[in-house]
């Protein structure tokens, strides 16, 4: 029942440009033949997701969504990869949703669990930034209000 997926750390390691190029040519060749095997699609998508360029990640997630849509047998694995892709892109909400689905199916999956924690960390990080911003904005706001009040009081 358990799917064989890599830890999220594997996604941080990107392929070399040449390798990615090779995968890309393979993918495009099969597209030209109008019969793309799932493995080629996955290879290319995974290579894209691993890269640090955001556009690549977006493209990779799109291809993974394609696989998800067209191959019911592969859906469970794709859940993980799509979640990973979203995590790298920064869409924590979507990542959480997909990962949540996977955990529903396989509560014991270690990689899914670790990805879950990573997503939570990312969300909280953003939250801290948000709080800091809000705090800063509040401080500036109070200062402005105070200046106005003082001016008004003086007059």
């Amino acid at each position: 029942m358990a799917v064989d997926v890599p830890y999220a750390a594997d996604a941080e390691v990107s392929l070399s440009f040449d390798e990615l190029q090779v995968l890309r040519t393979q993918y495009e060749r099969e597209v030209a033949q109008s019969h793309v095997t799932t493995q080629t699609k996955f290879n290319f998508a995974w290579g894209l997701v691993k890269s640090p360029v955001r556009e690549h990640q977006v493209e990779g997630v799109r291809i993974l969504q394609d696989i998800y849509r067209s191959e019911p047998a592969r859906r469970r694995e794709c859940l993980y990869y799509i979640a990973l892709g979203y995590y790298k892109m920064g869409n924590y909400e979507d990542a959480k949703n997909f990962n949540g689905l996977l955990l529903d199916k396989e509560p014991a999956n270690l990689q899914a669990q670790s990805l879950g924690t990573l997503i939570e960390q990312g969300v909280s990080r953003e939250g801290y930034i948000g709080m800091a911003l809000a705090g800063g904005a509040a401080a500036i706001g109070t200062l402005l209000v105070a200046t106005l009040v003082r001016r008004a009081a003086r007059k």
Partner: protein, 669 residues
């Protein structure tokens, strides 16, 4: 700006509670806020359409069902489901081959460059080009490593003179390297395994797809056939509608000069034999196809001939050994009356509008006005005893004189009848045509011309206005003086019973029907039809002859049937004939060649065709329908006959069939 304002608004409202527990809601809010700097262009990033696409798709995909995967058997994935995607990835990426190339290079021996490639290419006669990029995925580091080692190896040995030692003896690998190589090889083998199973899965998938596509293709081909049929149907309709247009135009033009004389047989419109679309009551569409919805009982002996004027109009049926055909109203299914006058069994009937022609075994052809059948029925009912009917007919039999005399049988009924003076107008029989010496077995009339075929082996052409025989065509003469034989055509000697035909009486036993019965077939002329001055006849010698009615000569004989021709029809392109030899042949009208032969299990006694189908009576209880576009046979059996079908006739979607059980059944096609 909106997210920021919104976030700000929410933070304002939730600030008092901010210090308290940070629930998920807050975190999300702050997270949204935290994201805004990124969004607002810390590093001017455009939101591409792709991103929107995946974001939108994500919601949709989340709701899609995920089937349970079958339990995968361990990591090799052979017994269980297909190997996982990641496994496949590891097996198929170009760097998977890295280990192998590296190992191969470790085994490469540093020999002085001999230019083997050039040598081999030269030996094969190929042009030597500069070596291009060889293989994929050779990463640089490996090459450098081995090369260094190789060099180092050589360096160690120094200038030792190298005798003729084998290449392998020089290399020393070391234990670690060898172990590494073994594990690499094992992994590579697994990869190969994985790739094999991937390919197997792909092949299976493709096979499924091909099957599905094949199914789709056959369906599409069937649809094509259906469209073709519809096309032909529409063509027919168009033609008929055009004819009708002309007809109606000519009628409005000719209203002034119309002949309305009661004595002359009603002016016939141009033949509506090949007619369609017919005007049917709206309920006809609701009738289930392929099922007989009306049955008429017509006596006790097998039906010999039938014809109707139009769907839901008037039907005239004649049975064997019965000299009085019955007239039916197809709307109600009631018998209107009978046509009294013949002295011999009626063998051929044709009805056009309100005019009916019958040919009988007594050698005469009578013309009837079907509108008068009602009147006759009424008057007959008024106190006529049946006995006098019998006497009536006996008197007729004797009193049948020469020449063209209007039948006075009805008039001569005695006291009741006052209209004795109105000889010519009384009764449905309008005219009697005499001339044949033996039974009239086939006939066809159109407009004012009638052609009859009889057992005296002649064909006669009549003018219906005057009632005179215009021409006589002798088949026997045509038999013994065949037209010039076309090159490659069959010789007259092939005729199966040419000799018998020339002899006196013609009688051939029919092959048994489906119920085993058979009889002696004695009609020398099985069927005739003409158009303009082209006449086609089917006769007992198995030949279909084409005559020119202006000269009275048969200019072409179509040979092929090995039994008497019983039924025949032609249109602009084809002649279709059925015969006792259990086959229907479709001939080309212009060249005389055979298009198609359709074989049946029993003798064919009646047929009618159009561009899409041939409906035939082939000695079985069911009416056979042959679809010409799809070449499929089908049978009309539901609520059908209990004995073999003898005769049939159809118009558009209304079929009338008569069988040996003396029943006439109406079908919706």
């Amino acid at each position: 700006m909106t997210p920021r304002i919104m976030a700000h608004a929410t933070t304002v409202s939730s600030r008092p509670r901010a210090a308290v527990t940070a629930g998920t809601r807050h975190r999300v809010d702050f997270a949204t806020l935290g994201r805004t700097p990124l969004r607002l262009g810390l590093g001017s990033r455009r939101i591409t359409s792709r991103e929107l696409e995946i974001v939108e798709a994500a919601d949709e995909l989340l709701t899609v069902e995920i089937p349970d995967t079958p339990t995968a058997a361990g990591s090799d994935g052979e017994g269980g489901g297909p190997p996982s995607l990641l496994r496949g990835f590891q097996a198929t990426i170009p760097s998977a081959d890295k280990g192998r190339t590296r190992r191969r290079q470790t085994r490469n021996v540093e020999a002085p460059r001999m230019g083997m490639k050039r040598m081999s290419m030269g030996a094969r006669g190929l042009m030597v080009e500069d070596a291009g990029a060889e293989g994929e995925g050779e990463s640089e580091e490996d090459v450098v490593v081995v090369g260094k080692r190789g060099e180092r190896e050589r360096g160690k040995r120094g200038r030792k003179k190298r005798g003729r030692e084998s290449l392998s003896a020089q290399k020393v690998f070391g234990r670690e390297e060898l172990e590494r190589q073994t594990s690499e090889i094992k992994r590579d083998k697994e990869n190969l395994h994985v790739r094999r199973s991937l390919i197997h899965n792909d092949i299976a998938e493709i096979t499924h797809k091909i099957e599905a596509l094949d199914i789709i293709r056959t369906k599409l081909e069937e649809d094509l056939l259906k469209l073709h049929e519809d096309d032909l149907e529409l063509d027919d309709e168009l033609e008929m509608v055009r004819e009708r247009l002309e007809l109606e135009e000519s009628r409005t033009r000719g209203t002034k000069g119309s002949k309305g004389a009661a004595q002359v047989p009603p002016h016939l419109p141009p033949s509506r034999r090949r007619k369609g679309p017919a005007f049917l009551p709206s309920e006809h569409d609701e009738l289930p196809p392929g099922m007989a919805f009306m049955t008429l009982e017509c006596g006790s002996s097998p039906i010999a001939a039938l014809d109707f004027s139009e769907p839901y109009g008037t039907l005239v049926t004649a049975t064997q050994d019965d000299a009085q055909p019955r007239v039916w109203d197809l709307l109600s299914g009631e018998e209107i009356g009978r046509l009294r006058g013949h002295t011999g069994a009626v063998k051929a009937v044709q009805v056009e509008d309100a005019v009916c022609l019958t040919g009988s075994a007594d050698g005469t052809v009578r013309v009837w006005d079907l509108r008068r059948v009602d009147a006759e029925a009424d008057e007959w009912e008024h106190g006529m005893v049946h006995l006098s009917d019998v006497i009536e007919e006996a008197e007729e039999g004797e009193g049948e004189g020469e020449g063209v005399v209007v039948d006075a049988s009805v008039a001569g009924s005695g006291a009741v009848r006052q209209g004795a003076s109105k000889e010519e107008e009384d009764g449905p029989c309008v005219r009697v045509l005499e001339g044949h010496s033996k039974a009239v077995t086939a006939m066809y009339f159109e407009d004012e011309t009638l052609v009859t075929g009889a057992s005296d082996k002649t064909l006669r052409q009549w003018d219906l206005n005057t009632g005179q025989c215009v021409m006589t065509m002798d088949i026997l003469w045509a038999l013994s003086h065949p037209p010039s034989v076309p090159p490659g055509g069959a010789l007259p000697g092939h005729l199966f019973s040419g000799a018998a035909a020339a002899a006196g009486a013609f009688a051939v036993p029919t092959p048994p029907y489906a119920d085993g019965s058979w009889e002696m077939y004695q009609d020398f002329v099985g069927a005739v039809q003409f158009w303009g001055y082209a006449l086609v006849s089917g006769s007992g010698d198995g030949a279909v002859r084409m005559w020119d009615m202006r000269t009275g000569q048969a200019h072409r004989t179509l040979l092929g049937h090995t039994g008497p021709v019983t039924c025949l029809q032609f249109d602009e392109i084809h002649v279709v004939s059925g015969s006792l030899d259990k086959s229907i042949r479709i001939w080309d009208l212009r060249t005389g060649g055979i298009f198609e032969t359709v074989k049946y299990d029993h003798a064919v006694t009646s047929l009618q065709f159009d561009s899409r189908k041939i409906v035939s009576a082939a000695g079985e209880n069911g009416v056979k329908v042959y679809n010409r576009t799809s070449m499929q046979h089908s049978t009309l059996l539901t609520n059908g006959h209990t004995k073999p079908v003898e005769k049939l006739s159809y118009m558009d979607r209304y079929l009338v069939s008569g069988a040996r059980d003396a029943m006439v059944k109406i079908w919706a096609l």
